[in-house]
């Protein structure tokens, strides 16, 4: 194979990419693999996609269990309802996810890319559909080379129809996370879907079809930022997929009957690599793992599976390509617990504990105070200084509550409300207008602090306090 005889190939290609910002792509048709890692990846596909397509259909307390209700600005996660005010939980969750990614990358390389990334998972399904329709790699290559015929058109049409069908279902499921999925499906059947839902279903379906059907490895190589910075998390003790060149080289084909190395002629001692190039053929990003660790490698371990199969056929030891570490390759001791591993783990545990504790201790009541924007203050007919506030009382509890409001901070202050009883149903934000009136002689400063305290009548532990400013005329309190 001539492409393996030019070790500088990748470097030249890289320069070309930089100068032209575009590299002509040769279509990669990965050959099907069987083996332990292929099994693990298929299992991951079933578990992850199973969850993705199944979760929107779960219900909890008579509503969709996981619903990111964007129009209503509420997130339902099983028993928990999150409001925009609870954004911190989402942020913490994302931080935990990022740190977990870092931890696993430092430990075992690109596990995420090889087994869990949506790009990998959906591409795997699209590849499977393609193989069912067109056959494995050799047949696909033959079909693509063949001139257009009725047969070719039929095969391609079937493939794309299946792809689009699967992609559309993916799009509907995606929108189902944001808009109740049973209504959504009903609306599709009745052709009464809202414009934005329609747009997102089409957009997401199209993106799935394009990414998993056409772009594939180009997403990982050119578009994914993680591919470019993951090497920062690697060290000598990180598990990587590596070809053992000490054992494999010099490579070369050999007749099948001289299987055992001891039976080979003494003058032509080859390494264990028979140069069958199967590891290149199965690679979804089309690289040669024997050139060493490359940023294009998504760590899918397809080359390990296929090489082990070949080694078995040749009656050689398995593991010419295997998960190993740089230290192990160089014969040094492998250290599992390195400082960064311990630090990542500790931070994850700390944030996760904080998240759970604060979720458990979260008071299901929130009070937002907005001052009237039109006037800073006004003087009533009685000569009192009046400030108007708009209160947003957010009952995040699962039951309705009545609240009493008390305001402190300035002596002899009177609190005027349209309705003294604040009643808020479960999961609702109520607006309450409050007018505070103060005798100007009681004002010590132009701007004083007032404290609003909201107390649930039926639950003594349910209360919340919020500070606000009370503004008076210039020079208040100096008289």
């Amino acid at each position: 194979m001539p492409e393996h005889d030019t070790p500088n190939k990748t470097t030249t290609e890289d320069t070309d990419i930089q100068s032209s910002l575009y590299a002509t792509r040769e279509k990669i048709r990965p050959r099907q693999v069987h083996g332990m890692f292929a099994f693990l990846r298929t299992s991951a596909v079933f578990v992850l996609l199973g969850l993705y397509y199944f979760v929107p259909w779960l219900s909890w307390d008579g509503r969709q269990a996981v619903l990111l209700d964007l129009p209503a600005r509420k997130f339902y996660l099983f028993g928990i309802t999150l409001w925009p005010q609870d954004f911190i939980y989402l942020a913490l969750l994302l931080i935990i996810a990022a740190l977990t990614l870092f931890l696993f990358t430092a430990l075992a390389g690109r596990l995420w890319c090889g087994y869990a990334c949506p790009q990998t998972v959906w591409t795997e399904v699209f590849l499977w559909i393609e193989r069912q329709v067109e056959g494995d790699r050799p047949k696909q290559m033959k079909l693509d080379k063949a001139p257009w015929s009725t047969h070719k058109i039929t095969v391609k049409a079937i493939k794309h129809s299946l792809w689009l069908l699967f992609a559309t279902y993916t799009g509907i499921t995606f929108v189902g996370y944001f808009s109740p999925i049973d209504e959504l499906v009903l609306n599709i059947i009745n052709l009464s879907l809202g414009p934005w839902e329609t747009f997102w279903i089409v957009f997401y379906s199209f993106a799935t079809w394009g990414n998993a059907g056409f772009l594939r490895e180009q997403v990982c190589i050119y578009m994914c930022p993680y591919a470019r910075f993951q090497s920062a998390m690697f060290d000598e003790n990180t598990m990587i997929i590596s070809y053992d060149d000490k054992r494999g080289d010099p490579r070369g084909s050999r007749p099948r009957n001289t299987q055992r190395r001891s039976e080979e002629p003494k003058d032509k001692v080859l390494g264990d690599c028979i140069n069958c190039t199967l590891c290149v053929q199965v690679c979804p990003t089309g690289i040669d793992i024997r050139d060493g660790l490359q940023y294009q490698c998504i760590g899918c371990a397809a080359c390990i599976d296929v090489c082990d199969e070949v080694m078995e056929k040749m009656d050689y030891d398995k593991g010419l390509i295997k998960y190993t570490t740089l230290n192990a390759l160089e014969g040094k001791a492998v250290k599992l617990f390195r400082p960064q591993i311990i630090i990542y783990a500790l931070i994850i545990v700390a944030i996760a504990t904080g998240l759970v504790v604060s979720l458990l201790l979260r008071a299901p009541l929130e009070l937002d105070i907005i001052r009237d924007r039109n006037s800073l203050f006004r003087t009533t007919n009685e000569g009192l200084i009046e400030n108007v506030y708009s209160l947003k009382v957010l009952n995040m509890d699962t039951t309705e509550h009545d609240y009493t409001l008390t305001v402190s901070g300035i002596p002899e202050m009177s609190v005027r409300m349209d309705n003294n009883d604040i009643h808020v149903p479960a999961g609702v934000a109520s607006d309450v207008v409050v007018r505070l009136q103060v005798d100007p002689y009681d004002l010590k400063k132009q701007s004083s602090t007032v404290i609003f305290n909201l107390q649930a009548i039926d639950d003594a532990s349910l209360s919340v306090s919020e500070e606000a400013r009370f503004l008076g005329p210039m020079g208040a309190g100096t008289r």
Binding site: Q18, S19, L21, L70, P71, R73, P84, F87, L90, L94, F178, S179, G194, P195, W196, E197, F199, W200
Partner: protein, 64 residues
């Protein structure tokens, strides 16, 4: 990145409140989120393209 920016922005600003006094027709919240997402997307894409452009070595640009 656009997704994160959209989430952050609309967590702080409710599109219904932002568009309250404006006459852009009846844009639903879902519509406002979508438009916001694509605006952020254009923004991030522009900044990435600029980075790409400025990464080019000067001699290649200055060649006459």
């Amino acid at each position: 990145m656009a997704g994160i920016a959209t989430t952050l922005f609309f967590t702080v600003f409710d599109p219904d409140v932002l568009l309250m006094d404006k006459t852009y027709g009846d844009i639903s919240r879902l519509g406002a989120y979508s438009i916001g997402f694509f605006l952020f997307w254009i923004l991030t894409a522009c900044s990435c393209m600029l980075t790409c452009y400025f990464l080019r070595p000067c001699d290649r640009v200055n060649k006459t």
